[in-house]
């Protein structure tokens, strides 16, 4: 990385702000933070952040106002809104104000990271092939091979593998899998997800020397080389 990615965190709840700072720094991001909306707006205008994370409920100026002000000043900094309310109206209000994404509390940190990466990737050309170690996924043909051996997957198995591969090297939670692969809440599908991870392992890991699907206990799964 030539330049460290800079992220602005504006969150008045100190415990949440602290863990965001700490977690993001551990991921190698440079983090500035403040608890106040006006302060956040000033910082966002003064520096070129790669992504800004705003809580919706802020003292001074709330998150939606800050985003509106930024956009009114032609500032295109990608913004993720945090909120304790996930009603559809709030989501619509947030996106209308000019936010790029929206995440409801309490969220898995892995999910916030995934959304951050998605925003940071923006503008880079979409890949047509995903390569993870010796695993090759042809997105157009929905074909999978490892070490030159073609692997047959069912539609669901493929969707799950593709989702893991798009986040290769990063933790994906079971909730994220439930929501993105099955479009459902995690609770109902937890057993189904376990079973499908086992299916995938049987097909893409068991016949080969090294394992690609790793379990991060208590957090989720990672697709990638090494532990």
């Amino acid at each position: 990385m030539l330049r460290r990615v800079r992220i602005l965190v504006v969150e008045d709840e100190a415990p949440v702000r602290h863990f965001l700072e700490r977690g993001l720094r551990e991921q190698g991001y440079a983090v500035d933070s403040t608890a106040d909306g006006d302060d956040g707006l000033r910082l966002a205008r003064a520096h070129a952040y790669d992504v800004a994370i705003f809580d919706v409920m802020l003292p001074g100026r709330d998150g939606l106002d800050v985003v509106r002000e930024l956009r009114a000043g032609e500032d295109a900094t990608p913004v993720i809104l945090l909120t304790a309310r996930d009603a559809v109206e709030d989501l619509v209000a947030g996106l209308d104000a000019g936010a790029n994404d929206y995440i409801a509390k309490p969220f898995a940190f892995a999910e916030l990271l995934a959304r951050l990466r998605a925003l940071l990737r923006r503008g880079s050309p979409a890949a047509s092939v995903l390569q993870v170690g010796s695993l090759r996924i042809d997105l157009a043909a929905r074909a999978v091979e490892r070490e030159g051996v073609k692997i047959e997957l069912t539609a669901r198995e493929y969707s799950l593998l593709e989702y893991l591969a798009r986040h290769a090297g990063h933790v994906v939670t079971r909730t994220m899998i439930a929501e993105h692969v099955w479009d459902t809440r995690y609770d109902t599908y937890s057993n189904v997800i376990d079973v499908y991870i086992r299916y995938l392992r049987r097909k893409i890991d068991d016949p080969f020397e090294t394992r690609l699907i790793h379990t991060r206990r208590g957090v989720g799964y990672v697709l990638g080389e090494g532990r």
Binding site: E13, P15, V16, H18, F19, L20, R22, G23, E26, A84, R85, D86, A87, V88, A104, K105, P106, F107, A108, F109, A110, R156, V171, W182, D183, T184, R185, Y186, D187, T188, Y189, N191, V192, V195, Y196, Y199, R216, R217, G218, V219
Partner: protein, 463 residues
């Protein structure tokens, strides 16, 4: 029917009227009888005096003959005059052979009594007898009471007819008045029944300021108070769920960071698992709250429940297989309007529930079918079933929460709330063959007109 107030009032007024009329009738009848008796006695006394006056003259015999001859059976008269020794001096021709019994009068003032007519078998014909002693002779005059009794019977019959008419009319009037007076109560009952589905409706007032108005006012105040109470409780639970989210975010985030650093720490893993569970409970409660308040999110679109059921069966086949349970699905073309993701979740909750309560070697069957004008998705298992008395409680929040410490106890509640948000409902039945959980939803189009749904589906699937 007999228990309704207006019938009871009608019957009560009828009964009271009957009792009053019987009392009054009895009094009138006894007065009537006594007046008749007094009249006869006065007449007999006069006859006795005349007999005593004419005793020994030929006019007496003429008088007796004339009186006997001009009367009929109903007021027939008898005359008898004897020596104190009992020897007959004079008697009317119609006097029965056996006479009218021994003389009772001992002095000049007459003694009266009644004697059954010896010529009558019927027994209820009586003769009024008057005896007196004058100038050493015994005088007796008697008259049949048949005419009197006939009058009495007719009067009694008239009274009974009047009683029946008056009591019936009084009862009917009472019923009518009660019906009129109670008609606002009927409207109140109908209205109260509707109120179950009207979150803001109130009971009607008559506007007359009477007891029913006061009842309506009191009940309306009670209703409003209860609604406010329920609303406060509901808001409290929603606010609590919201308020919990920020601290949960911090606890969860920090624990996840900790778990990354120390993946093998059991306490951290255990705490994390429970925080995740707490998180799912809070999200589930908020989802329930939203479903109850706003219905499902977004515009309703046609959802092919048959396809959804096939998909769910595919997803869960592996889970069932690993537990030694057979999973069958049979799905007709059933299209409803709604949110596909929410409906998939509602049905999958039932499948998860069925798999949890079925042992190895059991069978779970998922069916999607039309039933009349409704779409019906049912999940049947051949597990031990449940007590039918619990059928409703199964759908309550946290009722089915297991001691295992992994579930949220909200699955079935979410299923029901989802079904209701789609204009349907969810219910459960249990018998010896296992339990069946069913979701019933309105079909998207009128039955028998699937064409109306077809084009919508294609347009939705088009890019």
């Amino acid at each position: 029917m007999i228990r309704t107030i207006r019938v009871r009032i009608g019957l009560a007024v009828f009964a009271v009227t009957v009792a009053l009329l019987i009392a009054q009738g009895s009094w009138m009848l006894s007065r009537f009888e006594r007046a008749g008796r007094d009249e006869v006695d006065a007449f007999l006394t006069a006859e006795l005096s005349e007999m005593a006056l004419l005793e020994g003259t030929p006019q007496l015999e003429a008088l007796i003959r004339a009186e006997t001859a001009r009367r009929h059976r109903t007021d027939e008269m008898f005359f008898e005059i004897r020596e104190p020794s009992g020897a007959l001096i004079l008697a009317s021709e119609n006097l029965p052979e056996a006479g009218l019994g021994p003389f009772r009068g001992e002095g000049p003032s007459p003694v009266f009594w009644e004697e059954p007519d010896p010529r009558s078998d019927e027994g209820h014909r009586h003769i009024r007898v008057a005896d007196a002693v004058a100038e050493g002779r015994r005088f007796r005059v008697a008259q049949s009471l048949l005419g009197q009794q006939k009058g009495y019977w007719e009067f009694r019959e008239d009274l009974l007819v009047a009683l029946a008419i008056v009591a019936s009319v009084a009862g009917a009037m009472a019923w009518l008045v009660a019906t009129r007076a109670l008609s606002p109560v009927g409207r109140m009952i109908d209205r109260a029944r509707d109120l179950e589905h009207e979150p803001r409706g109130l009971l009607p007032r008559t506007g007359k300021g009477d007891e029913l108005d006061r009842l309506a006012d009191v009940l309306n105040r009670l209703l409003t108070g209860l609604r406010e109470q329920v609303e406060r409780t509901r808001r409290l639970s929603a606010d609590a769920s919201h308020a919990l989210r920020t601290p949960l975010t911090s606890v969860r985030g920090n624990l996840e960071l900790l778990a990354t650093e120390r993946p093998d720490s059991e306490p951290v893993q255990e705490a994390l698992a429970q925080v995740h569970r707490l998180d799912r409970m809070v999200s589930g409660l908020l989802a329930l709250e939203r479903l109850a308040e706003h219905g499902f999110a977004g515009e309703p679109a046609p959802v092919d429940l048959g396809a959804v059921v096939d998909e769910i069966a595919g997803d869960f086949r592996g889970v069932a297989l690993e537990r030694g349970i057979e999973l069958h699905a049979s799905a007709d073309d059933v299209v409803v309007l709604g949110h596909e993701g929410r409906l998939r979740e509602a049905i999958a909750n039932l499948v998860t529930n069925a798999l949890r309560h079925t042992g190895s070697g059991g069978t779970v069957r998922i069916e999607a079918a039309r039933d009349g004008g409704r779409a019906r998705v049912s999940v049947h298992d051949d597990g031990p079933g449940f007590d039918p008395a619990d059928a409703e409680r199964l759908f309550e929040r946290f009722y089915s929460i297991g001691a295992s410490g992994t579930g949220t106890g909200l699955g079935l509640a979410i299923t029901r709330a989802t079904a209701r948000a789609h204009g349907g409902d969810a219910f459960a039945t249990s018998d010896a063959a296992g339990s069946t959980f069913t979701i019933e939803l309105p079909l998207s189009g009128p039955p028998g007109q699937p064409d109306r749904v077809g084009p919508m589906l294609t347009s939705r699937c088009a890019p």
